[in-house]
């Protein structure tokens, strides 16, 4: 069975080659639909779209730096119950990692799904993308992809990739069934297709592609990318750490928050149907607010802003994949992602866990371990 294959790129048309590849997939292995980033015909935005008509696959654009939402929750919606056919979902690595978390949380299933990962070229914030992309979306994508893959410094008229992308040390979709590889590959001539699971292997077999070797340059390029990103990330952790080191500092960090809860809606792993913050749990008696106000002389309303973020950190920091959609969604430009990633990095490290790494790994707090954190629970004495 072939594990690694290639598709040829004609006339340096990377998008065209990808679109042909997706057309090829439709119908194979009982795949009746593809969910992929797709350029809305009337608007310039790229949105996750479920496509069944092969002709419509000409609108697919997985290389675009548009990343309006994390599609994990959408794939969860498509797979929660049997749909009567297989779906292939084209996703960024962070989307796949979030999806893996949702599967563990029983919010999604993988049995009628083929995950197609792509080497992630990074993305812009939503407003940045709309400002930058201009009228011709395909041209914008070509310009962007060309710059990223040539290894040159990406220059997009002063607009930068999101902080989430620049600090992302996991740009390869390890958890996919099939991965589409660009890094370290001569993308002017070919694209690398790799099967990462048995399911992916069967599809690859069916696609009848030419076998290929992974070029040696690929690992090198990925390592370079990762070390660059890791350095940026660690710098970010240090900076954020300084800014949130006390309750007062954290309050200042989140001072702009208006409790709109957009970050929660945008978060792919905030999976509760009804968040505890919209239930009556934090509805206090009017007299209670007055007592607080009297005690301190003044009390900010609503009173649970900080608690909201801390609670969300407690709930999802072990599942946070760092996709940055929280920052993207914030109307008041609070850097939510750096805060969450900084904390998530520590909590995941503490549980020897990496969100989205593997379906087999049990989520922290899901099982009782007697010897866990003995120094904290006082079992060491």
């Amino acid at each position: 069975m072939i594990k690694t294959a290639k598709i040829d790129v004609k006339d340096q048309d990377l998008l065209g080659a990808l679109r042909e590849f997706f057309k090829n997939i439709l119908g194979k292995e009982d795949i009746s639909a593809i969910l992929a980033p797709w350029r809305l015909p009337t608007k310039k935005m790229v949105m996750p779209t479920l496509v069944t008509d092969p002709d419509q696959l000409n609108g697919v654009d997985p290389l675009s730096p548009a990343f309006p939402m994390n599609s994990a929750k959408l794939v969860s919606r498509l797979t929660r119950k049997p749909s009567g056919g297989n779906i292939a979902a084209v996703m960024r690595p962070c989307e796949i990692r979030a999806f893996v978390e949702l599967v563990k949380l029983k919010q999604a299933r993988t049995d009628e799904l083929i995950l197609i990962g792509i080497d992630c070229l990074g993305a812009l914030g939503n407003r940045d993308y709309l400002n930058w992309s201009g009228e011709n979306g395909d041209e914008a994508t070509k310009k962007f992809a060309g710059q990223v893959l040539s290894g040159k410094t990406v220059d997009m008229d002063g607009i930068e990739l999101t902080q989430a992308c620049r600090s992302c040390e996991l740009p390869i979709a390890e958890g996919a069934d099939i991965n589409i590889g660009f890094f370290g590959v001569d993308t002017s001539r070919q694209i690398l297709i790799q099967a990462l699971t048995d399911k992916g292997g069967r599809l690859l077999e069916d696609l009848d592609l030419a076998a290929a070797e992974e070029p040696a340059s690929r690992r090198k390029e990925i390592d370079r990318l990762i070390s660059e990103r890791t350095a940026f990330r660690d710098n970010m952790f240090a900076e954020v750490g300084d800014k949130i080191g006390s309750i007062d500092k954290l309050s200042a960090y989140l001072a702009g928050c208006v409790n709109c809860y957009n970050c929660r809606v945008a978060c792919p792993v905030c999976y509760c149907r009804e968040c505890v913050f919209v239930t009556d749990v934090f509805d206090h008696e009017p007299s209670q607010y007055l007592r607080w106000a009297r005690k301190k002389g003044a009390v900010k309303m609503p009173t649970d802003t900080l608690l909201y973020h801390i609670t969300r950190l407690a709930h999802i920091s072990t599942a946070c994949v760092g996709c940055g959609q929280c920052t993207n969604a914030c109307p008041n430009d609070i850097p939510v992602m750096p805060l969450f990633r900084t904390i998530a990095h520590k909590t995941q490290q503490a549980f020897d866990y990496e969100a989205g790494r593997s379906l087999e790994e049990k989520m922290p707090l899901s099982e009782f371990k007697e010897d866990e954190f003995t120094e904290i629970v006082g079992l060491n004495n």
Binding site: E274, F368, E370
Partner: protein, 1160 residues
């Protein structure tokens, strides 16, 4: 309607006694649990960590169903159960009557400190001038004459060791609660008569006893003594034995005739000890040896004084008695003391090491050498100290020491700050239990524990450094000297202290080793009908076996009480009707105990009242004078009856003490006990009094604690307790000895039982097993029990029947069975016992299957029974142990093979002494009293040759028949290969389970990696599955002997009866539930629930909680991110309100009367 309640007495509150008492109490009997020490827990109160989890785990004994009847906290701290009366410091002094109707006298000794008044402040201890070795810490630390017997019980009143007390009276003066009443003046009323012909003895005794405060008179002869006795009454007479004229024995006889209540102590020289012992048979209490050691003598007399004068004797009427007296431990300083114990301070016992490792020990758990604080880098254990020693009358294996040593070595490695070398010197490493071998292997291979098979010659001290040097011989005879920092003696078990007297008292004999005699086929019954032996009282047991034997004993006790018709019954209370307060606004009574105004300067009643009444839900704040007293409690009850609150908060000292009281109060005032709470306001007050610096003032603490209590109570939702109906019928799978025994036990209690057996005959392994190692024939027993099963009107036997499907939960299972003729039937039942047994393993090792001369032990047994072996014609028989056993994949000891080989070797030798019998073994697992058969076999000339896994015996099968086999094995003593000619090679292949995974899974029971039934907890719940209502017994659990199988069957039946005895199982008040509208069905609560109480109902797409199985731990509520999982009694609203209350109340007196007032 109330139900008949039988009563039982359990003697000894170690873990075994606690297990028996809880079993009986949970089944609905009234239990009196007595303990001669001042605390419960027995030896386990000294041991913190147990194999295999290396934690404690005692709490796992607590009830799971109807758990609100009982305390639900650390059992080392204490135990409360509605149906159990615990009497500490109490001993049995007389037993009369018959099964079903015993009359028992028990005597409670005084502790001289009123536990009701003692608040544990400890000021008495500080002023006590006496300092003696602390028994709790095995003498590694000291204590005062007034002391805490254990550091951890609640309540934990002080007691006085009167024998050590110097009567200075300082403690009595300083006690703030007047809890100490030494009442020395009362001693004047205790009249002692000293009779001796020697003036010097009379005078010195008089002087000593005068000093102790007793009234003393003297007499120089028997006749003078009798005259004095007739003139004035005396409590105690001390009499010499050898006196001119009337001797002491004659005086005793005469005195006892006229004054039968007089207590007499004989004084004797060494020459007349036998006479003194004889005198005890005719009524003397004890004897004192001359020359006197004043300290011991006075201790003895004080003890008698305590018993006679101050003892509180009460009579109990009970249906059955369980003795759980445990064991004591060998003192290595006794006799020859070859290890220099107590002379070399670097030689300690395993019990001392446990104390050194304990956080409550002399070094607070810091592992250093006790006498000089040296870091331990090299430590050795010496096994079998006082065990397996014929000279010490200990021809038995203490059974627990091997695993204790391995566990201790692992703990030492874990607790040592720096690398430590650990060595265990042993004869046979007896890893006979379920996971023991793998635990040993991991100690050796992963943790580097060195196992050294050796004989210890002696321990000497280095002449310069004094470090202990172990001189030992390896198996090849070579001698070695090795220096260690610390040597630990694995001291063996001894019969319980005072067991001889007890044996006389209960009229039941002791076995040859001094334990209570029980019979192999009724392993918990003593010779006295109605009196049972639980735990290790009848022999050597580890924790899990103690649990099994304790439950087996409680089963037999229950059976006796049941057969007697639950006589001596009390009518228990019927559940009272509770008022429905769910629609009322909270109206709370806050009652604060002022502890008899002893701390009035620390209790600002005005401020507290003002503060607390600010909360609109507080109706009234009252202050009570000592609510722990009957009068104080009555005062509270009256206030409640007049003011009719719907919530009651009590601020007092130990909340644990009030569990039972609140339930009684609830019955009386018809308010749900869940609407009442007790909070501890006294502990912080005491802490402040002891150390006033750096502390919040007591008033802020009291306020904060009370406000937190108010917050929890006012938001309490008074939901009725749910209960689940019980189908009072049991299913037993497997018709072997275990299944039949369990089924009969349940049926004898009046509940129908379905007994399912896949073959066409009842009997299991007993169909081929002929006799036990003790020589008890099994056929008559089998015949009897099969007949009993077949005749029992409530027992439905289904032969040639299989289980095809099952579902359900405790109290309500549905199981489909299919019989041989394909008839399908569904049975509804409340519990299930899996007794599916096991078989001898098959093998292809050592040429088995290629020669008629190679057989298994089972085949040998059958041949011996059928007379198929012509023993006269045999010259040589070789037996190989551990065939395919104790190595992966079957890395466990099958436990029965060594005794079986010994049994057969002895039989062969008995029939043909000329026959050469060789047993090739790895470690002889002759545990418990089986050791004596190992000794007997060696005496009979059976040759034992030890082999290792890397050097297994080799067998050469001859090509021609009728020529002997050749077995080659390396003898470690000769250190060279031996070639043995054998006519017969007998293989001990071990036991494999016969529990199909599909069957186990049908009942949601799990199997372990070897296919045996997986216990909920290997030590503390050894016959329970994790899923309530499912039990296992016999070989399905793990390989075991017939007596042990019978005990496990009894235990499983008892665990089942505890459920079947109730029409309904009531859940606890604290149970979790699901708010379905919030639930995202992520199922994390299901994964995290340790009690399997939650499942996803696939049809309704909802998470369902079984309230009877939920134990209210709250794990689900912490895992659920949006509070869809709710724990009753700890809802978000309650907990958040409590946190607010705690934070708000940081109020300092003197600042402002209003802590939430404007900032200054």
């Amino acid at each position: 309607m109330g139900k008949k309640m039988g009563k039982a007495l359990v003697v000894g509150a170690g873990i075994s006694g606690i297990r028996s008492a809880l079993d009986l109490a949970e089944t609905g009997y009234g239990v009196t649990l007595i303990e001669r020490e001042q605390h419960i827990g027995g030896i386990l109160s000294q041991l913190d960590d147990q194999f295999p989890s290396n934690h404690c785990g005692m709490c796992k004994m607590l009830p799971l169903v109807k758990r609100d009847q009982s305390s639900q906290f650390c059992l080392r701290k204490g135990l409360f159960h509605e149906n159990i009366d615990i009497l500490l410091n109490t001993e049995v002094i007389a037993i009369d009557g018959e099964p079903g109707k015993f009359s028992v006298s028990v005597r409670k000794k005084p502790t001289w400190v009123d536990p009701e008044r003692c608040v544990g402040c400890g000021v008495c201890e500080a002023v006590c001038p006496v300092e003696i070795p602390d028994t709790f810490n095995e003498g590694l630390a000291t204590r005062k004459a007034i002391y805490l017997p254990v550091p951890h019980t609640i309540p934990n009143p002080y007691v006085i060791d009167l024998a050590a007390c110097s009567h200075c009276g300082e403690c009595e003066k300083i006690c703030p609660t007047q809890a100490i009443q030494l009442s020395f003046e009362k001693r004047k009323d205790f009249r002692v008569l000293v009779v001796d012909d020697e003036l010097i003895v009379r005078d010195s005794l008089k002087e000593w006893l005068d000093e102790e405060g007793f009234f003393v008179d003297v007499a120089e002869s028997g006749s003078v003594a009798l005259e004095k006795l007739s003139k004035a009454s005396f409590n105690l007479m001390l009499t010499d034995i050898k006196m001119p004229g009337m001797d002491g024995v004659a005086l005793l006889k005469k005195a006892k005739e006229s004054f039968p209540d007089l207590c007499v102590l004989m004084m004797t020289a060494f020459a007349t000890v036998e006479t003194a012992v004889e005198a005890m048979k005719i009524g003397a209490e004890d004897y004192l040896m001359k020359p006197f050691d004043p300290e011991r003598m006075i201790a003895k007399i004080v003890q008698i004084y305590e018993e006679i004068e101050a003892g509180d004797v009460r009579d109990l009427e009970v249906g059955a008695i369980v003795f759980s007296g445990g064991t004591s431990y060998f003192d290595p300083a006794e006799l020859k003391n070859i290890y220099g114990y107590r002379t070399n301070s670097s030689v300690i016992t395993s019990l001392e090491l446990e104390r050194l490792l304990s956080g409550t020990g002399p070094t607070q758990g810091r592992l250093v050498r006790p006498h000089d604080g040296k870091t331990i880098e090299k430590i050795a254990w010496i096994q079998c100290v006082g065990s397996r020693d014929v000279q010490l009358n200990a021809d038995y294996c203490s059974s627990v020491c091997c695993m204790v040593a391995i566990k201790e070595s692992m703990l030492v490695i874990k607790k040592s700050p720096s690398p430590v070398e650990t060595t265990i010197f042993y004869m046979d490493m007896r890893t006979f239990g379920k996971t023991f071998q793998r635990y040993r292997d991991s100690a050796e291979q992963e943790h580097g524990v060195r196992f050294e098979r050796a004989r210890i010659h002696s321990i000497t001290a280095d002449t310069v450094s004094g470090e202990p040097i172990i001189r030992y011989a390896q198996t090849d005879g070579s001698l070695h000297n090795e220096t260690f920092d610390l040597v630990v003696l694995a001291v063996g078990q001894r019969p319980a202290r005072g067991i001889e007297e007890l044996s006389k008292l209960i009229e039941a004999p002791l076995n040859p080793w001094g334990f209570i005699q029980t019979e192999p086929l009724s392993p918990v019954a003593t010779d006295r009908s109605g009196v049972l032996a639980g735990g290790s009282f009848s022999g050597l047991k580890d924790i899990s076996e103690s649990m099994m034997y304790a439950s087996a004993a409680s089963l037999e006790a229950s059976r006796i009480i049941h057969v007697a018709g639950g006589s001596l019954s009390d009518e228990s209370f019927s559940e009272p009707a509770l008022q429905d307060v769910s629609r009322e606004e909270p109206k709370m009574l806050v009652a604060v105990c002022n502890c008899g105004n002893k701390y009035s300067e620390h209790l600002d009643t005005e401020a507290l009242t003002h503060q607390l009444e600010q909360d609109p839900c507080v109706d009234k704040v009252v202050f009570l004078r000592q609510c722990c007293t009957a009068a104080g409690w009555e005062e509270l009850t009256e206030i409640i009856e007049t003011s009719k609150p719907n919530r009651i908060l009590i601020g007092a000292c130990h909340p644990y003490l009030y569990i039972r009281k609140l339930r009684e109060l609830s019955h009386r005032v018809h308010l749900d006990a869940e609407m009442m709470d007790v909070v501890d306001i006294m502990s912080p007050t005491f802490a402040y009094i002891k150390n006033p610096t750096n502390q919040l003032s007591p008033v802020s603490h009291q306020l904060s604690t009370l406000k937190v209590g108010i917050s929890r109570l006012k938001n309490m939702d008074p939901l009725p307790t749910t209960s689940l109906p019980v189908t009072r019928r049991a299913l037993v799978v497997g018709g072997g000895i275990a299944g039949m025994h369990a089924a009969l036990a349940i049926a004898d209690h009046g509940y129908p039982v379905d007994l399912v057996e896949q073959s066409d005959r009842l009997g299991g392994n007993l169909l081929w097993l002929h006799q036990t190692i003790e020589g008890v024939p099994l056929e008559p027993y089998l015949h009897e029990i099969v007949q009993a099963a077949e005749k029992h009107p409530l027992l439905n036997i289904h032969l040639q029947t299989k289980i095809t499907a099952a579902f359900g939960e405790v109290g309500d299972f549905y199981t489909t069975i299919e019989s041989g003729d394909k008839t399908i039937k569904t049975i509804q039942h409340g519990t299930v016992i899996l007794a599916t047994g096991g078989n001898e393993a098959t093998t292809s090792a050592y040429g088995y299957g290629t020669s008629q001369a190679v057989i298994t032990q089972k085949e040998l047994e059958s041949r011996l029974v059928q007379g198929d072996v012509d023993l006269e014609k045999l010259d040589s028989v070789v037996m190989i142990q551990c065939v395919d056993s104790r190595q992966e994949p079957r890395n466990y000891c099958s436990r029965v093979c060594c005794p079986t080989s010994l049994k057969h070797a002895l039989k062969l030798k008995a029939e043909n002494p000329q026959l050469a019998v060789y047993i090739l073994y790895r470690d002889m697992m002759a545990i418990g009293f089986t050791e004596s058969y190992f000794t007997a076999a060696r005496k009979a000339g059976v040759i034992f040759i030890q082999y290792n896994l890397d050097n297994k015996p080799r067998v050469t099968i001859p090509t021609e028949s009728n020529t002997p086999l050749f077995i080659t094995v390396t003898d470690p003593i000769l250190a060279r290969p031996l070639e043995i000619e054998a006519d017969l090679l007998v293989l001990a292949t071990g036991i494999v389970p016969q529990l199909p995974t599909t069957l186990a899974n049908a009942f949601a029971a799990e199997t372990d990696q070897d296919g045996f039934f997986l216990e909920a907890e290997s030590k503390w719940r050894p016959v329970d599955a994790l899923k309530e209502g499912v039990f296992g017994c016999g070989i399905a659990l793990s390989p075991r002997s017939v007596p042990d199988t019978i005990a496990t069957a009894g235990a499983a039946a008892q665990r089942a009866l505890r459920i079947l005895a109730h029409e309904k199982l009531s859940a606890g008040k604290i149970v979790s539930s699901v708010r379905h509208s919030l639930c995202s069905l992520c199922e994390r609560c299901i994964d995290t629930c340790p009690y399997n109480a939650r499942y996803l109902d696939p049809d309704r797409r909802k998470i369902v909680v079984n309230p009877a199985m939920c134990q209210g731990c709250g794990d689900c509520a912490t895992t659920c991110p949006n509070s869809a999982s709710v724990l009753q009694g700890f809802t978000d609203v309650q907990v958040l309100d409590m946190i607010d209350a705690a934070i708000e109340s940081t109020w300092q007196p003197g600042s402002s009367i209003d802590p939430v007032g404007p900032k200054q």
